[in-house]
C-alpha cells in the first residue's frame, strides 16, 4: 500500500480547513502540510452559505454586545470564554479575508457594509450580497494556491483515523479516481468536514454533509458534544430545502401565515413594525421562529402543500432594485426552483434542518481529547453556539477557530516525534481488509443504500424534530438500532475501483448512522427544553441539572455513553432570553 507522510494533515477543504491550512503554512513554511478532501475544495458546502458573517467593526457596536447576543442566542449553553475569544478575534479574521480579496459589499465611502441579522442587536453582519459563503470559500481557496507548502489530495475519501499509543497518527483514505487505498501519516490531524445535516430528510445541507469527521472521531474514541442541538432554519423552500437567507428578513421581509398575518407577534417576539427591528419579530433567533411555525401549523394557520405545510415570506415591498442589489440570489433561486418571482409574489417557506450546533468536542484551540487530533468548523463543538447558533456566526467561526486549530496543530507537529508505519501497520491492514470484504468484494445482501438512508432520515424527522418527547425518542433509538443491523445487509451493485460512488455512499451511510445515534441518545438524556432542544415532556429549562454540555462516547453496544461537562460562565450569568423588547 502507498504510504504518504506529512507533519499536518487537514481533512476537509471548506472554510475551516482552508483557513487552517493557511495558518499552518504561515506558522512554519517548512512544515509539510496537506489537505485531503472528498470533493475539490471549491465544492465544499461553505459555498452555499448566503447571508453573511458577523464581526464587530462599526463604532456603534461592541465586543460585549456581540458576546451577549451570542450567549443569549445560545440559551446560555455556550462556553463564555470561547465566545469572548471568538468575538475578539472575529474582526481581525474578517479583515484578513478582506485583504485576501473577498468581495465584501461596501458603503459609498468604500468601507465594509454590515446588515442586521437574527438575534443580533447591532448591525454587524458582513456580506457579499447573498453569496457570502461562496465568495469566502473561493477567496480562501484561491489564496491557498499561492502557498506552495499546501499540498492537496483532492477527491480522496477518508475511511479511518489511525490511532496508536493514545495519539492520532494519520488516516486511511481511498483515492476515488482509482480506488487505490492509501495511508497518510501525520503528526497532527485536523477534522474540518462540516456537519451532518443529511441525517435528516429535509435539509439545506449538500449531499456531502454526512458527518464524516464526527464519525471518524467518534469511532476513534473522541466524544461528540451537544449533538442534541439541531438548528432548523425557519425559511427553506418546500421540496428542495433550498435556503432562503435570513438576509431576506434582515432587509425587511415579513413572515405571514395563511391569513396574511405576521404571526410571530403571537410568540413573544415583539410587535410588527413596517421596518425591521433588531432582535425582534422576523429578526428573532432561528430556534424561536421555527418553533413558532410548528405552533402556527398546529393552530391550522399555515398553508398545506404537497411537500408539507408552509407560510409565506413576503419581500415584495422591498422593491426590485433592493432585491436585485442586496439579495439577488434569493430571486434567482425562487425563479429557478419554485417558479415564482419574489418581486411580485410571496415565497413559500417552511423550517428546514440547517446546522448542527454539536460536534467533535474540542478546547479553545480546536484540540480534541485525543492527542494529535484537532477539529474546527461545523464538525467541531468548541462551543460558541450552545443550544442555538445565531445566523452569521458560523462563517466567522470557520475563520477564527480554523486559524486557531491550524496554529495549534502546527505547534503540536513541531513538538512531537514523527510516526513510523510499523506501529500502525496492523490497523492499516485491518482497514484495507474491511473495505475489501465489507464493500468492494461484498456479495449478497438485500437492502438498498437509499432505502436504509431514507428510513434513517424518517426516524430522525419523526423523533428528533423541532419538538421532541421521551416516548418518540425511545422509539427512535430502538428503530435506529434495528436499522443499523439492516445497514449491514446492504447489497452493492458496483464492485469496481474507478470512481465508485456507491462505495462512498455506503461508507457515508455508516457515518450518518453514527451521528444519528449520538443525536438521538443525547436528546433522550436531556430532560429539559433549551434553545433548539424542545421536550414537550420537559418544557422548562433546567439550569440546576442541565447547564452542561453532553458528551456522547461510542460504546460496543448500540447506545453511546452520555456524560456531561460544565459550561464555562465568565461574565453573563444565565438569564431569560428576551426578544422584541
Amino acid at each position: 500500500m502507498d504510504v504518504f507522510s506529512h507533519d499536518v494533515l487537514i481533512v476537509g477543504g471548506g472554510g475551516a480547513g482552508l483557513r487552517a491550512a493557511i495558518a499552518v503554512a504561515e506558522t512554519d513554511p517548512k512544515l509539510s502540510l496537506a489537505v485531503v478532501s472528498k470533493v475539490y475544495p471549491m465544492r465544499s458546502h461553505t459555498v452555499s452559505a448566503e447571508g453573511g458573517a458577523a464581526a464587530v467593526i462599526k463604532d456603534d457596536d461592541s465586543l460585549d454586545d456581540h458576546a451577549y447576543d451570542t450567549i443569549s442566542g445560545a440559551d446560555w449553553l455556550c462556553d463564555q470564554d470561547a465566545v469572548e475569544l471568538f468575538v475578539n478575534e472575529a474582526p481581525g479574521e474578517m479583515l484578513q479575508l478582506e485583504h485576501w480579496g473577498c468581495p465584501w459589499s461596501r458603503l459609498s465611502d468604500g468601507s465594509v457594509a454590515v446588515r442586521p441579522f437574527g438575534g443580533m442587536k447591532k448591525q454587524r453582519t458582513w456580506f457579499a450580497a447573498d453569496k457570502t459563503g461562496f465568495h469566502m470559500l473561493h477567496a480562501l481557496f484561491q489564496t491557498t494556491l499561492k502557498y506552495d507548502p499546501i499540498q492537496r489530495y483532492d477527491e480522496y475519501f477518508v475511511t479511518k483515523l489511525l490511532v496508536d499509543d493514545g495519539r492520532c497518527r494519520g488516516v486511511v483514505a481511498i483515492e476515488l479516481a482509482t480506488g487505490r487505498i492509501v495511508t497518510i501519516l501525520a503528526k497532527s490531524v485536523m477534522l474540518c468536514t462540516g456537519g451532518c445535516g443529511k441525517v435528516f430528510p429535509f435539509t439545506t445541507n449538500a449531499n456531502i454533509k454526512n458527518g464524516d469527521g464526527m464519525s471518524l472521531a467518534y469511532r476513534a474514541g473522541a466524544p461528540l458534544k451537544d449533538m442534541e442541538f439541531v438548528q432548523y432554519h425557519p425559511t427553506g423552500l418546500p421540496f428542495t430545502g433550498i435556503l432562503i437567507t435570513e438576509a431576506s428578513r434582515a432587509e425587511g421581509g415579513w413572515l405571514l401565515n395563511k391569513d396574511g398575518y405576521r404571526y410571530l407577534q403571537d410568540y413573544d417576539l415583539g410587535k410588527p413594525e413596517p421596518h425591521p427591528v433588531l432582535r425582534s419579530m422576523e429578526l428573532g433567533p432561528r430556534d424561536r421562529l421555527s418553533q413558532a411555525f410548528v405552533q402556527e401549523q398546529e393552530k391550522g394557520r399555515t398553508f398545506e402543500g404537497p411537500y408539507g405545510n408552509y407560510v409565506h415570506l413576503d419581500i415584495r415591498h422591498l422593491g426590485k432594485a433592493k432585491i436585485d442589489k442586496s439579495i439577488p440570489f434569493v430571486r434567482e433561486l425562487c425563479r429557478k426552483y419554485v417558479n415564482i418571482d419574489p418581486v411580485h409574489e410571496m415565497i413559500p417557506v417552511r423550517p428546514v434542518v440547517h446546522y448542527i450546533m454539536g460536534g467533535v468536542h474540542t478546547d479553545l484551540d480546536g484540540a480534541t481529547p485525543l492527542a494529535g487530533l484537532y477539529s474546527a468548523g461545523e464538525a467541531a463543538c468548541v462551543s460558541i453556539n450552545g443550544a442555538n447558533r445565531l445566523g452569521s456566526n458560523s462563517l466567522t467561526e470557520l475563520l477564527v477557530f480554523g486559524a486557531r486549530a491550524g496554529n495549534a496543530a502546527a505547534k503540536f507537529a513541531l513538538e512531537v516525534e514523527g510516526n513510523g508505519i510499523s506501529a500502525i501497520s496492523a490497523q492499516v491492514g485491518d482497514e484495507q481488509r474491511r473495505l475489501e470484504k465489507d464493500f468492494l468484494e461484498k456479495q449478497g445482501g438485500t437492502e438498498r443504500i437509499a432505502t436504509v438512508r431514507e428510513e434513517m432520515q424518517k426516524i430522525m424527522e419523526e423523533c428528533v424534530g423541532i419538538y421532541r418527547n421521551g416516548k418518540d425518542l425511545e422509539r427512535g433509538a430502538e428503530e435506529l438500532a434495528k436499522l443499523r443491523e439492516r445497514a449491514d445487509n446492504i447489497a452493492l451493485d458496483d464492485h469496481s475501483h474507478t470512481f465508485n460512488t456507491e462505495l462512498t455512499a455506503a461508507l457515508e451511510l455508516g457515518y450518518m448512522m453514527d451521528s444519528a445515534e449520538a443525536i438521538i441518545h443525547s436528546a433522550k438524556a436531556r430532560h429539559e427544553s433549551r434553545g433548539s432542544h424542545q421536550r414537550t415532556d420537559f418544557p422548562e429549562r433546567d439550569d440546576d441539572k442541565f447547564l452542561q454540555h453532553s458528551l456522547a462516547y461510542r460504546t460496543e453496544s448500540d447506545a453511546p455513553r452520555i456524560e456531561y461537562t460544565p459550561v464555562s460562565i465568565t461574565r453573563w450569568p444565565p438569564g431569560k432570553r428576551v426578544y422584541g423588547k
Binding site: S48, L95, H99, R106, L145, T240, A450, S496, T498, E502
Partner: protein, 246 residues
C-alpha cells in the same frame, strides 16, 4: 402528460468497457425535478453502479455539469420539463478525459486555474491594524461579475478552441484573471498579462462566445477575454512606440 421519461445515459466503466455506451432508464416525469434528480433516482433506485458528481443542488457548488442533449448544462439547474417528452441524452462534459460514466478528469483545469495567479498580488501588504482596503461600490462592480464563477467548467465544454487545443488556458481561468486585475486592491495585472500572453493564453480565443452563452452565472468570460485582449494589445503598442516611456 406522460408519467415517465426516458433518460439515456453515457456509461463508461474502464475496468469492463473500452468505449462508452448508452444505457436507457425510465424515470418518473415530475415537473419539479431537475435533471440531476432523475440521475439521482437512477443511482438510488435502479442502478447503483452509475457514477456522477453532485453536491449542493442549488446551482452554486459547480459539481454537476454534464452534457444534456449535447449542451453543457448544470444538471441541478435544468428541469426535466425543458426536455419533455424526451428522451434526454446525458453525457460527461465534453473535451475532458472521462474517468468513469459522467465523471470527468478536471486536473487540467486545476492547473490552469493556479497558473493565472488568482489571488491578490501587492507590492506591500497593508497591516490588518490599518483596517480594510477602501473599495467603493463602483470599484466592486468593476470586477464583481467575474468573481461569480463557480468553476462548473461548462464554458470549457462549450469552447471550440479547447476542443482543438486542450492546452488553451480557457474561459473561466481568463475571467478569473480579470476578476483580480480589475480589483482595486490588486497590483498583479502585469504579472498575469505576461502569463496570459503566452502561446496557450488569451490570443488562442477566436471569440466564438459560446462560453458566455452556456455560463449559468452570467460571468461572461467571452467579454472578459475580449477586454483582456484590448489591454494586451495596448500594452504591446506601448512597448514598441517611440514615445513610450518603457
Amino acid at each position: 402528460m406522460a408519467d415517465t421519461i426516458t433518460v439515456s445515459v453515457s456509461r463508461y466503466r474502464p475496468e469492463q468497457e473500452s468505449e462508452p455506451t448508452f444505457q436507457d432508464y425510465d424515470v418518473p416525469f415530475r415537473d419539479d425535478w431537475a435533471v440531476l434528480d432523475a440521475i439521482n433516482h437512477i443511482k438510488d433506485n435502479i442502478d447503483g453502479s452509475l457514477s456522477h458528481r453532485w453536491s449542493c443542488r442549488m446551482g452554486v457548488c459547480g459539481s454537476c455539469g454534464m452534457m444534456v442533449n449535447g449542451e453543457p448544462t448544470l444538471t441541478c439547474a435544468a428541469f426535466l420539463s425543458q426536455y419533455a417528452p424526451g428522451p434526454i441524452r446525458i453525457e460527461p462534459l465534453r473535451y475532458f478525459p472521462v474517468i468513469r460514466d459522467l465523471v470527468v478528469d478536471i486536473t487540467s483545469f486545476m492547473t490552469k486555474l493556479k497558473k493565472v495567479k488568482p489571488w491578490i498580488i501587492r507590492k506591500e501588504e497593508k497591516a490588518l491594524s490599518e483596517g480594510e482596503y477602501r473599495q467603493s461600490p463602483d470599484e466592486l462592480d468593476a470586477y464583481k461579475k467575474y468573481s461569480m464563477c463557480i468553476n462548473c467548467l461548462l464554458c470549457y465544454s462549450a469552447c471550440p478552441v479547447i476542443g482543438l487545443e486542450p492546452n488553451f488556458i480557457g474561459p473561466a481561468s481568463i475571467a478569473l484573471a480579470q476578476r483580480y486585475n480589475l480589483d482595486s486592491r490588486d497590483e498583479g495585472a502585469l504579472e498575469r498579462l505576461s502569463i496570459l500572453s503566452q502561446d496557450d493564453g488569451m490570443w488562442q480565443c477566436t471569440f466564438v462566445g459560446e462560453c458566455s452563452e452556456v455560463c449559468p452565472k452570467d460571468v461572461d468570460p467571452a467579454g472578459a477575454i475580449q477586454r483582456y485582449k484590448l489591454t494586451g494589445a495596448a500594452n504591446w503598442f506601448e512597448t514598441i512606440l517611440p514615445w513610450s516611456s518603457k
